[in-house]
Symmetry: C5
Subunit: 305 residues, 5 copies
């Protein structure tokens, strides 16, 4: 009988069954039931591309260079949270406090130096998140980087402070660096499946992943022989993440609204707890973005956790 | 007369003769006499393969990807302890508290980057172990790695906290890195014998080792001339570990139950204090794994320490 | 409507709308309205060239080697602040306390070793700034350096202390190192635009930038195709800096006073909050420098923020 | 007259003339007059070879692999102290407390990775030494290693704690690494003489050195032209160590008892404060080792300090 | 008028005009007026050559290997201070306390490893200096070394502690490493002039420099075109050091007394605050050294500061 065990959808089990400290339970409740779809799912608007990629990412829709744009969209679109760094939070959140939960991203980097030994340094702390009234912190880990020892140690510092303050921890679990490139790249099923498990074992509450692709070139066995369709691949990484809730990334902008919505439906069917859509939202004209968000809400409403 | 001194079996001498602080004595008693075989021996179920090797290790028996599987097996099989990291402990231990002792593994890494300069970063602390009610902490040291200075310094931090909290320290003493490869590899008698002594000199209470093989290619003298059988090799490393208790690793899965049981008998005869069997247990169907465990208990019952 | 959002001039919005802690508000007020043009703009006299470039920079006007020269000029010229390091502040500020605000530069380096992996170590602290009565601290970050992780972590230390003491933070945001050189160099629009955004995302109150040039050789897309004039380039980086106030650097000395004044006018038109002129001021004979400063004041008076 | 100054034998001057803190004076007294020869000289039994060289060193006399052997020998032979690490002290010292002073070795390493950039990491602390009732700590410094900056900084940490707790500091001052190899190797007069002076300048109370050899190949001037006999060479390094007491190492095992005893006589004549004999003692049958020790005592009795 | 500003001799301005904390003023007074020439100048006897160069430096005059020799000379010769490390201070200062001020050197290194990336690690602290009753600390910085970031950060630690305890800071400002070698070497006017300014900007109270030579090979402009005589070169670096007092190094031993005295006269004429003479003093027979010192006093008496 035990051999038939299936991983239950993560978010339900979290609030229902885990002995969470009060602070973490309170903050997770606000994210899962107090804002956004309010049914245990998560719709998050990230804004760290200006740091991670440079202002380049705003060129397709120039108003997006003003962070007030994303704050307005997060509120108008009923997002579960906006995820960004200390500079943007301190200078643009004033009019939105209490109306849009904040996921304070604690580390980051520019993409100017080589990613061969990628590492993402802290530039804010869990105490900043507490001070700003955030409901979670975000942390990027470059899984499999030759500098993963630095990444782990720095993560440990953050995890310990999250424990101290009852702060949920959202892990951007990103395979990165020369070694993962030699094993097929960052978005293969092998890489994303490993990244999901790392998030679980290291103690993340929520993990942001990318949809695994079907590339098997240079991928280690047994993944190189797996022939799973997109649905099975997504379900696999959700299962590997166990009781860590999975958010799939929206990735680069797709102009086809219907394709975006199919992605959302598809991710939710795989057992994910939600989606993190940045450029696919804030690179659209404001009213179109709000309208698209409403349709995303309609889909997510059908997948309570 | 002094020249005939023999190392006494370690576990007996530990509780009988060492001036252990109360906390360490209490926790060691729970591991040695309160759970598992309850006769001074140890049967430990490890679950760090998802982090160390990736979800790959679960492919032969898919239910094993759900950590609830291992927790259920640890309880049903009467293991002395389950050994895993902070993420798994926090999210899956709730129903098993008090029934299965926890060895909290404090460090780890993925196997994506090269092992040439292997190092295993901390991602949890001894204080986490205290908070979670663990009865020991686990620490992996890559003996002989070109970065062993980082490994030693980090270990010192853990050892000092173990001293402070009366927490037993289980050392995964693993020869690893380019230099040991140049001297014959990680599982030779030379390498395992050195690893055993390092564990003793650095102050581990329990050490996890691998059964030394009979390879002498590239091995330094006088090991390259030794012609000892498997029993003598195991007895040698147990002797080198002195009053640090030795657990031998079960290693990769072996489908032949009788072969597995012969290994257990053989390790116990060598003077070891027990075995740490992961994949050889949790990659079997649940009921078969429980049944096999019962037979392991029968063997260990004949080797009280 | 939201799509028409324009970044408001930064300095006005800062004191008017941001929930600044009292200490930071008080100090910013002194810089913006208590000294210098007193209309929300900033005219800063920097003196860190002796450390960054060596005494070489003083050769064109030998009296400038004596820091008393710059202190006298800062006071006579009505500068908003003088920006320099701890050694100069402690030994030369005595007669000017209260009359010229101090921006204490906390880090720096010589230009003797290679800039390929540029990093700028701290040699003073925010607490030193508090003790000396400074109204801001200055910090140099080498954006995109292969060592940016060290730069970010050190910056975080400074930012946190600024938060603790209510100390404004002026970021010298300088693209530097082998990777940015491979992408077209340090003063391209690409590099300066990225540097502006980094300052905003990391939480600087004020950023010092260089006027972006029109070079597109080796510059990444879409910048390589942009054909913007100097005015548009400056306005773009000011927009990317958002609510972080921009100071443009005066750069190397220009003997043509009228050209210098045209630059000032031009920078203010672009939306910048001010200028930081060192060599273009203190390499002139004293009376000429004071006279030129008066004309700069006249220009800045027409651009209240 | 001042030009005729001779360094007085170190140990006498230490207790007689130095303003030692009470704790350090008490512990040094126990080592110099409370145990061993009790005349200001030191006869120390080291046991760190299992860590530094591996169990290999015990092969010539297998009972020596059990640390109880060395503890028994240290007591039966009337050694001034036994020098070993935290793991051995905690697990084997119980029956010998108070009867054999402990020098707790705080750092060490395996010899598996290359020694080109040798460094010896801490794995215990001065506080451990205090807790265990040790009368001194031992610290190995690799003089002239390319990583000597790490070595110095770590040493400083230990020295400061020794100051705090009144703990004598015994320095294993070992020239090591690629740079010293390029200058003739680790045991030349040049290398040992420099190592002696480093111990003095850095503040060691006692220094362990090797007898300098007569090799001048690749040795820097003026050492390459010196033609001193063994006695003069030893006297020179003792003089360079000044008021830091010198212990000469017994080195590898010599089966010729008379040769060993001639070495002891010779070292004591050179002005050294004693000897540190490990393998030359504990690789002999127990009764022979005790008998040899008695003869060493007879020699040392003739060289009171 | 401001354009005619001249740097006033540093020592006079320091005590007369700087708002020094009481502790620093008291200690500087003892060095400048309580000992040595007692007229605001400084005559310092350094003894760190045993560590920095090895015992080699004592070979020309063997009694100098005993630090008691230098202590006796410092007292008999009426030096302003003796400058040495913690080991020498603790073991040899007892008979001289209060009679010869101590400058405790906090960092140092051997010259065995390559100087290409020179760095000088701390091996004592400002607190040690306070405990030993020192009147200043000495710190060596390798200006322009590829590791200057480590040097700066470590210096900052020392400077901060000096601030806390009112301890004067003497900087050995030494251009060193591969990059300065590529720019003409360590003793050029370019290198010494830069080193002087670094000392001022970083906050040293006193800087030790070498007399700049007239070599222009590989030296950067405009130094490569300067044609200044030795007097002008010295005056230039004194001017670049501003209110940081300059001590010129005596360098290697010169057997010609008159030449040594001409150097002293020459340095004092250049505006320096004094000289630091080690080997040129303690490599002479004691009485000759004392006699030479008296003549140095006679010269310095003519240059009160």
């Amino acid at each position: 009988m035990k051999d038939n065990l299936q991983a239950a959808p993560a978010s339900r089990s979290v609030l229902a069954s885990l002995p969470l400290p009060h602070g973490k339970r309170t903050r997770l409740w606000r994210l899962l039931y107090g804002h956004g779809p309010r049914n245990g799912t998560l719709l998050v608007l990230p804004l760290d591309q200006g740091l991670e990629h440079g202002p380049t990412d705003f060129f397709p829709h120039p108003p997006a260079v003003d962070p007030a744009y994303q704050f307005a969209l997060a509120e108008a679109g009923g997002f579960s949270a906006i995820a960004l760094g200390i500079g943007l939070a301190e200078k643009y959140m004033a009019g939105h406090c209490g109306r849009v939960p904040l996921i304070l991203k604690l580390n980051g980097k520019t993409n100017i130096p080589s990613d061969a030994e990628a590492t993402s340094p802290l530039f804010a702390s869990v105490e900043d998140a507490v001070r700003l009234g955030a409901d979670a912190v975000g942390y990027t880990m470059y899984v499999g980087s030759p500098r993963q020892h630095d990444e782990f140690r720095q993560f440990e510092q953050v995890r310990r402070d999250c424990e101290r303050y009852g702060m949920p921890l959202v892990l951007w679990s990103y395979p990165r660096g020369s070694a993962i490139n030699a094993r097929g790249g960052t978005n293969t099923l092998y890489a994303q499946d490993y990244a999901a498990r790392v998030a679980l074992e290291l103690g993340a509450d929520i993990v942001k992943l990318h949809e695994p692709n079907d590339s098997v070139a240079n991928v280690p066995p047994p993944y190189d022989k797996l022939q799973e369709d997109a649905a099975a691949r997504c379900a696999r990484v959700v299962r590997s993440a166990g009781r860590t809730m999975v958010l799939f990334s929206g990735g680069e902008k797709n102009d086809d609204d219907e394709a975006v919505l199919r992605k959302v439906e598809f991710y939710m069917q795989s057992g994910a707890s939600g989606v993190m859509f940045g450029r696919n939202m804030w690179l659209r004209p404001f009213d179109q973005a709000v309208a698209l968000t409403r349709r995303v809400h309609d889909i997510m409403a059908r997948y309570p956790r």
